[in-house]
Amino acid sequence: MRRLLIAIPYLWLLALFLVPFLIVLKISLSDTALAIPPYTPTIDLSEGWASFRAFLTGLDFENFVWLTEDDLYWKAYLSSLWIAASSTAITLVVGYPIAYAMARSPDEWRATLLMLVILPFWTSFLIRVYAWMGILAQEGLLNQLLLWTGIISEPLTILNTNTAVYIGIVYTYLPFMILPIYAALERMDDSLIEAATDLGCSRMSAFWLVTIPLSKNGIIAGCFLVFIPVIGEFVIPSLLGGSGTLMIGKVLWEEFFNNRDWPVASAVAVILLLILIVPIILFQRNEQRAREMDE
């Protein structure tokens, strides 16, 4: 009974999570010519060791060498990291005041405000990104508004630029930033601020010296929750970005669906995962530390 209980989810994840990933790893190391679809799996278990040896000698790093030679790829990795880092910073600046105001609002309001932040989570991500296409377009609402108020005289090109990508990221990932910061601020004891002001702090310095440090764990968690998924983002750059928007998720998609180059797509995926491991481990450490502080 117990064995069965362990075996079912275990085998499911082995078969549909771990094994597929090993296949990606394998294909990223195989010859481009051989692995163009339909590729043939090269390990034949019935032949035992001999085939395993043949498999090992067949591996090569050609695809990874290719990634370093064509500057499209490393530029795409760097640009994904840059877009992720800067949009995380913008999301923090936009999200912190909202989280702060939520935590400081009257008790009877808080549940409603919280629900209003969570509600977009349940709405389709695709639709939320799409909603901006009509607003940011050349003849879109934002340009109409700006022209009407006379702020600009020529419509701005926003859609299909990196600016639109930033707007899309901040918009869709904002709840991920607000929620952990709100959770940290809500637990804060208000008398600490009073104590700081009584001891001669201005309200501004009480904010920097007391509130910010106490919400540090929430800020770090929020930043990782935005930064990590944005690196591999596909929908936002492909709908709001332009031909100049380089993001690795989009490159992988195009490599796979348009160029049908599976080995290179697999190699791109392997490197992307290696890049993500560092922030993921840092995030886990931060979560663990936060839990230990609670106990």
Partner: protein
């Protein structure tokens, strides 16, 4: 007593305007009579009518719902089992690997999950269609379910289960009669989460679906790639309406459950 300061009121107003205005605009423009989506030409429900005539969208919607119901149900069963293992099974061989496999899909970029599953399906010669999307969606959403359920399992009093076992329940009966009713709210929210994740997913479905099965997000994506379309506005509005009604009902139900629980507790305390 906390009150709104002008600063907090301003940041809340601006923040929620930013979060909700794009959706409101989308909803308003779905009732636009003009085909030019940025010019207002009067109120009309024309696009809803055209949407209902569009067989391709209706088929895709049906596939999406089928996939979501199947994958979220299997994911809830598997995810609850996985959560039970994480919290209650103690040590077993390969536990670290198991924990890793539960948490890794949560942070795995969708493009990688999709690519790897597609390569698996091709490797074993499985034709892509509804089945492969269900398998793919079940795999990542069971991890979300197990995170939701395990947080509930950690917080509940284990002695209740032990009491049931002492009183002669088999472990399975103890689970069914004691544990399951207590963790039921978490299991239900896990199911809802899995269902929404499946409805919402574009990237993994694009990799794992074949020409025989197109889901709604795939259809929407290929339609909006070329630009804004009034039919998609109408479709989006319907989807937003369903979600909003669903969330409101869910919050009312959970509020009522909380009130009932509080009343039960009060009655128990008096007795």
């Amino acid at each position: 007593m906390k009150r709104f300061t002008w600063f907090n009121a301003t940041s809340l107003t601006l923040g929620f305007a930013f979060l909700y205005l794009p959706m409101v605009i989308l909803v308003i423009y779905s009732f636009n009579a003009s085909k030019l989506v940025t010019v207002w030409a009067g109120f009309s429900t024309r696009w809803y009518g055209e949407l209902m005539q569009n067989e391709a969208f209706l088929d895709a919607a049906w596939v999406t719902i089928k996939v979501a119901v199947m994958s979220s149900t299997i994911a809830t069963v598997l995810g609850t089992m996985a959560a039970y293992l994480l919290v209650r099974a103690g040590r077993f061989t390969g536990r670290t690997l198991f924990t890793g496999m539960i948490y890794a899909p949560l942070v795995m970029p969708e493009v990688i999950t999709g690519l790897s599953l597609l390569l698996l399906f091709i490797g074993i010669g499985l034709d892509r269609g509804v089945l492969t999307i269900v398998l793919a969606h079940t795999t990542f959403s069971m991890c979300y379910v197990s995170v939701v359920v395990s947080s509930r399992l950690t917080s509940f009093d284990r002695s209740l289960e032990e009491a049931a076992l002492d009183l002669g329940c088999t472990p399975f009966q103890a689970f069914r009669l004691v544990t399951l009713p207590i963790i039921a709210p978490a299991v239900i929210s896990g199911w809802l989460l899995a269902f929404t994740l499946s409805l919402d997913d574009l990237v993994i479905a694009s990799f794992t679906s074949g020409p025989a099965a197109t889901t709604l997000p795939i259809k929407i994506f290929s339609a909006v790639r070329l630009g804004v379309s009034p039919e998609i506005n109408a479709l989006s509005t319907l989807m937003i309406a369903v979600v909003t009604v669903g969330v409101i009902i869910a919050s009312l139900v959970s509020k009522r459950a909380a009130v009932a629980r509080a009343r039960d507790d009060a009655a128990a305390a008096r007795a």
